[in-house]
Amino acid sequence: MIVSVLGKTHSIKTNYKGENTCCIGINDTINLSSLISSFLSIESQTLDRPSTVYFNIHLYTPFEQLNRLLFSLFICGSLTDFNSGLTFSPSTSKQWQYIFEVPYSDYVDRTVQENSKYLLPVLSMISSNNINEITETNYELYIDEQEELVARFLKAFENRTIDRMYTEHIPGRECPVDFDKLTDHNECRRYILQCKDTYASELPKNKIFELTFTKFLYRRFRFFTGFQYRYNITYQKLGSTIMPQMINEARCLTQIDFSTETYPRIYLVYDKEFSLCVLHNDWNQVSQDLKTIFKNADPAKNEEHQNKNYAVVCLSWVVDIPYRMFEQVMKEMKFILTENFTYKLFHIHERKLTKLPLIIEGETGVGKTFLLKFYSSLLNVRVTHGELHDNVSPRIRERTSLWLCKHVFDGLLKNEPNLNYVLLRKIQSILSNNPIDDEDIEGQLDGQIDGNDPLENIKKSLYHGEYSSDILQSIWKSIISISTRIQNENNLTKRLLTDLHEFIVQQLTKLPLAKASHQLGTLLSTWKVPTSEKSIEILNEFLNYTEIKPLFYRLLLHPGVTEEQIEGFISPICRLAREVPDVELVVFFDEVNTSSCLGLFKEMFMDGTLHGTDLPKNIFFTAAINPYREESNDEQVHRSTYNVHRLPQSLDNLKVSYSILDRCTLEDYIKQKIATFTVSSITDPTIQQPLEEYHQTVLTKCILDAQEFCEKRLGKRFRMNLFLE
């Protein structure tokens, strides 16, 4: 039996778990029948070897039921589910090892040992000597590659070797600044904990904070493995100048709180190669030491960044996407990047890099969902906006357009001058929105293409995907109808039809994010060689009704949601995540603490497993919670609308508060929003123009006043106000 406050799961995974270990997560409900089936399958799999079963028991487990179950299994020697008739009794000839992880929370006033006796009396009776409490001393911070790297540079900082510079001892032989790896884990641990005690003594003493702090440090210290640092010949004392800033950043990020306006605003940002830049909102606030690194010149004023939004520059630098793509996503999603959102996005990304989940605490409507949705689009912008080849992004229309250009025009139709001429006329008529009859063109079969080869222009437009799906369909229709009319020995029509079929089938298998409509599936399987009409129908279905799987998933929870439903929600996402390892999926559970299956979330978020099976690593879990408040009489009426549970402790340490936007932020937001808001011009309704400046001011002031009025005078009651609804 393993008991402790935090760090149990990790300890078990590293110390006890072997290949034959079966994990069973016990959350808010116990499904006896599936539990027995897991036991049966373990027994059948490991006939000749001892079996290890690891129970991950969560805080919200129904302990009475669990105790009965354990009694039945260990004392009576069998487990029976009366509903399904399944029975399991461990064979006596075989060795079974059971590991129990017993939850504990600081909120109960029992010691860790007492607590486990209280929760699982059956176990404490039958194996009272086997309780293993995890404490600071017997389970210390686990030292992995990341922790070693952090410790290595902390040591260099302490003994001042961090300021070494690139030298060429022997001419022609490079000697970049590198440090020897630390091999002693205790030494590593000492440096990390010492750093935490010296620079971040206010951080609560627990594993989660130690872990987060170290991970944030790791992310920053990787700068010392980058080119700019290792080959530094320009900056004196580069290491010792930025080290305190980095530690400070890690400290701030570990416990950042957006509910007040005082969150720190100066951060070093790194690109993929770990070159430095600084994100700030006021150059004067940047420390003198840091300024010297940037040669006392504000990078925001750099010529390179002229006419650019500096916050966007820094964020695209951090997320590692081109500036123009960032702006494009902003425009598409109508996202307004206020200062506040800049730092929130920065924090979200930094948190994602630590591979820990993000839990946002905030009232309804502070922009959580939209912010995460926007972030998800940013993460995958290379997939959705990048080059088409080597890419899983569906973009059906662009792909079809490219296929028409390369395969049809440059391939099949290349040596068909007659057909090309007629086709060109036809396409030109489609493009000019002035359709002509096929009969009309056919008289001119021997005509010559005049001018500067308009066919090339069409191909160019196809190549760049400039045509809408409707035009693409019309083009296909014309190609088919004309090629049927002009019969030739190559049997062109048939080739066109089979190739289209082949192209679509191939695309659908190649692109896991695209899902064929039911209709398309039936069409493709019935018509291996489609008729002309069917091919048009197939193309239409493919272009217009192919379902594109989203990269951002949101599930709104409520007390009625069951574990099975959550599993049903998450399993297709996991399947997709495994199919597209390059894509980062963002999963957002809204109002997670209204749910009664918090144990399951703890397992998914912290342990990275779902009922014992590992979850893919390219899913970033995020959640939002409504603030947990102690019940008070004044609030009672409103509390009844949502009842929230306390989070398991490990999750509780990962939350970050977002408050309602204050007037400054709101003003910033509204101003930027109004600037992008356009109405049709008075003189020419086809032109969109911004509101006149006077009206912009009036609207801004009114919205601000009204928002503030409602917030102040009605407060939370306004959120629930159903008057006249």
Partner: protein, 128 residues
């Protein structure tokens, strides 16, 4: 009930913009040639914030002295949008009347009814 839950948030602000845009495009009394931005702003504000509040009279009847009234908000907004209340009342009269709606006999078209109708209609049309 759950769906209609309100909150003062960015959603409200977006709602305001959508409404200004809506009225701009609509120009529902066709006599006008020029869009009247101030009127659209007033209407958008009314639909987003003002109509959600009870009137002074409602409050008196319910013996509620805590909830702020529509009039309180109007006082505040009138500082920026002159004649706010009059504009809204005018617009309501123009919009909710027996020409536009079939209103059963015996129903007095007071402000409560008309603002309720206009809120529901715009919400339905704009899907907000």
């Amino acid at each position: 009930m759950f769906k209609e839950r309100n909150s003062v948030s960015q959603r409200e602000i977006q709602r305001c913009f959508n409404l200004v845009d809506f009225f701009w495009k609509l120009k529902y009394d066709r006599n006008e040639f020029e869009p009247d931005a101030m009127r659209y702003i007033a209407l958008a504000l009314a639909l987003t914030y003002y109509f959600r509040l009870p009137t002074k009279e409602d409050n008196t009847q319910r013996k509620d002295d805590k909830t702020p009234s529509r009039e309180d908000l109007a006082d505040l907004l009138s500082k920026t949008v002159p004649n706010f209340t009059e504009t809204i009342q005018n617009e309501l009269n123009k919009f909710v009347n027996t020409d536009n709606f079939i209103i059963p006999h015996g129903v007095a078209v007071n402000q409560a009814v008309s603002c309720c109708i206009s809120r529901k209609v715009t919400r339905y049309l704009l899907n907000i």
